[in-house]
């Protein structure tokens, strides 16, 4: 009798704790959302949009590295595929509304992601990284020579156009809220995937692939789907970036960009949802600050040094370390 009373008592307190932590999370989310909505009043909107685009790119990338354990060294290909497709379509067909161009860009990157995945999935680990890097380089050559990318010059003066044919995106504030909405959509999608049964299987693959195989999961199929979603979201980020800055260039397709998104994710914290966002914010800020000062030419060596320090000293990244600290000291 008293035993079961104890149990219900215990359950109640646990439930209470759970509710409290959920409430804390909810408050945290609302505060962040409010800050994001108010941000353009304080910070230059274009800069914020740049951060959000790269944050979405990094979140997409982290679905692979952080939640599936696959290191793609060719994600720039998807960013560029999305950007070029959207840029070309919006420049060439004035009747097209902006969201149509963005959807087309995302679709192009998704298809490309499927092609990459079918080839790359045949090897594991570091081979996977080398293959994706080589495929992205192949695509880089395509972008240099293809007639629709503008070659070395890239695409300039891409019109932002009207969202749904109604909202004028030349207005920076409207543009910002559109980018914010797309970013949040992408973020919530990844969050939903990670917490779904499908996401659990991805985690199992990351932890122990042979075991996942022996449990009867079609591991290759799971990996391909994760890769395709990640590529599609990276393409979406590229499309948004093209609309925001009204240009698409070879920089987005270069291996350097693939390295940068790895750094953002690693620095922020792989395997955490918030990590890539923090990492992207940090790296974009750092690059901007450096470009303003006397160290403008030293961006690459500094990024390289951050890479080395992160790998050696704190592999769980900023968010990962904060989580560890909170767990250790506050519970």
């Amino acid at each position: 009798m008293s035993n079961s009373d104890n149990q219900t008592e215990l359950q109640k307190t646990m439930l209470g704790q759970l509710k409290a932590s959920q409430r804390k999370k909810m408050i945290f989310n609302l505060v962040v959302l409010a800050l994001l909505i108010l941000a353009p009043a304080v910070i230059y909107a274009t800069f914020l949009m740049k951060i959000l685009c790269f944050a979405l790119f990094a979140v997409a990338f982290n679905l692979l590295l952080g939640f599936t354990g696959l290191l793609s060294f060719g994600h720039a290909a998807f960013l560029a595929a999305g950007g070029y497709t959207t840029g070309y379509l919006l420049s060439s067909y004035s009747g097209l509304t902006t969201e149509m161009g963005i959807i087309a860009g995302t679709a192009a990157a998704t298809v490309l992601g499927l092609l990459f995945a079918i080839v790359a999935i045949r090897r594991q680990g570091i081979y996977f990284a080398m293959i994706t890097l080589a495929l992205a380089q192949l695509l880089y050559f395509v972008f240099v020579q293809a007639p629709f990318t503008g070659g070395e010059d890239g695409l300039h003066g891409v019109p932002r156009g009207h969202l749904f044919g109604l909202i004028d995106l030349e207005n920076n504030v409207a543009m910002y809220y559109f980018v914010l909405a797309v970013f949040l959509g992408g973020y919530l999608l990844v969050q939903r995937i990670v917490n779904s049964p499908y996401g659990q299987v991805l985690n199992a693959i990351k932890q122990n692939e042979p075991r996942a195989v022996s449990l009867g999961y079609n591991v290759d199929r799971y990996k391909i789907i994760a890769f395709v979603i990640s590529a599609g979201l990276a393409g979406l980020a590229g499309s948004m970036k093209t609309v925001v800055f009204q240009l698409a260039s070879l920089n987005d397709a270069h291996w350097h960009m693939s390295g940068e998104v790895i750094l953002m994710t690693l620095l922020g914290g792989t395997g955490t949802l918030l990590g890539p966002v923090v990492g992207a914010t940090f790296v974009v800020n750092l690059e901007y600050q450096l470009s303003q000062g006397p160290l403008g030419d030293w961006v690459d060596p500094i990024l390289g040094a951050i890479f080395v320090i992160t790998v050696i000293a704190f592999r769980s990244g900023i968010v990962g370390e904060v989580q560890k600290f909170v767990k250790k000291n506050l519970n």
Binding site: I126, I262, D300, P301, I312
Partner: protein, 295 residues
């Protein structure tokens, strides 16, 4: 003028020669990668930077101290090799027990640093390195003109590749290396200094890259970014060949150079992409690579 399939033989053989030269570089570089991979189980992303360092050190030593080509051929790889050992000792060793992805990212960061620093000092426009006088001129063969230096590059690259193969497959030191590849813990148990072996292996792989850099200095433009593009091609070569065998890495390297050269004759715009396409085809047909053992 004689023709084969409508292509003048001089053009054909000329491109074939260039292909074999490029292939020699691919072979030297992928050999170094394979040696490092064998014992350390990591992919050295800084390999391209080491190749570049080999060439840059050669040029800088000549400009500053007047060191000639023959001395540089030994000295530059030694300098870069020592640098490599330092990287292994101070950086790579610290993350020995971690996932190999981290060592790959670490070497990528190192490559970014080296390349960025040198770009700031020397710019990307490229430096010239005068061809040693001995190599001026060439053989005039019936079907083509073969410059002395290119003949030298092919010969010396083949000799170095064969020498490396011989040391690893036929000598006692090579036997240690191969044993370490199989089970380094057991080797340690037999009283062999594995950490030292690891450092030296990394240093040796890096030396091979730097040696390729010295060979490249008189014929290619020497600049801080010369290593990054060739490295990606070499990665594709490594994927095609598989890193299971030393001989496989050498043969694949030469073969891919030739294929690239021949593509230049038929369809020049496509030549920079052909190796990547071969990689895709090989992966679809034989995922473990031409000479690979495991799937």
């Amino acid at each position: 003028m004689t023709e084969i399939l409508g292509i003048p033989t001089a053009v054909l053989f000329g491109q074939l020669l260039l292909g074999i030269i490029n292939g020699s570089f691919y072979a030297l570089l992928s050999l170094g990668l394979a040696v490092i991979f064998g014992l350390l189980k990591i992919i050295n992303f800084a390999h391209g930077a080491m190749y570049m360092l080999g060439a840059m050190v050669t040029v800088i030593m000549f400009d500053v101290m007047g060191v000639n080509y023959w001395v540089a051929l030994l000295a530059a790889p030694l300098v870069v090799g020592c640098f490599g050992v330092a990287i292994e000792y101070f950086l790579l060793r610290r993350i020995g027990g971690q996932d190999h992805i981290y060592s790959l990212l670490l070497t990528f960061g190192v490559a970014l640093m080296i390349q960025g620093i040198l770009t700031n000092i020397y710019g990307v426009s490229g430096m010239r390195y005068a061809m040693p006088d001995v190599f001026k001129g060439g053989f005039r063969l019936d079907f083509m003109y073969l410059p002395y230096y290119r003949a030298w590059v092919i010969c010396v690259a083949l000799v170095v590749c064969f020498g490396t193969w011989f040391v690893i497959e036929k000598t006692k030191l090579g036997a240690y290396l191969r044993a370490g590849t199989e089970d380094s813990q057991l080797m340690q148990g037999f009283g062999i200094n594995v950490p030292l072996l690891v450092s030296l292996t990394y240093g040796f792989g890096v030396m091979l890259a730097a040696f390729a850099g010295v060979l490249a200095a008189p014929i290619y433009s020497v600049n801080p970014v010369m290593g990054s593009n060739i490295l990606i091609v070499v990665f594709a070569v490594v994927v095609i060949g598989g890193m299971g065998s030393i001989a496989g890495a050498i043969i694949t390297g030469l073969l891919m150079g030739v294929i690239e050269g021949l593509t230049k004759v038929v369809y020049p715009e496509f030549s920079s992409a052909v190796i990547f396409l071969v990689m895709v085809i090989v992966l679809l047909i034989r995922p473990s690579g031409l000479f690979g053992k495991e799937a």
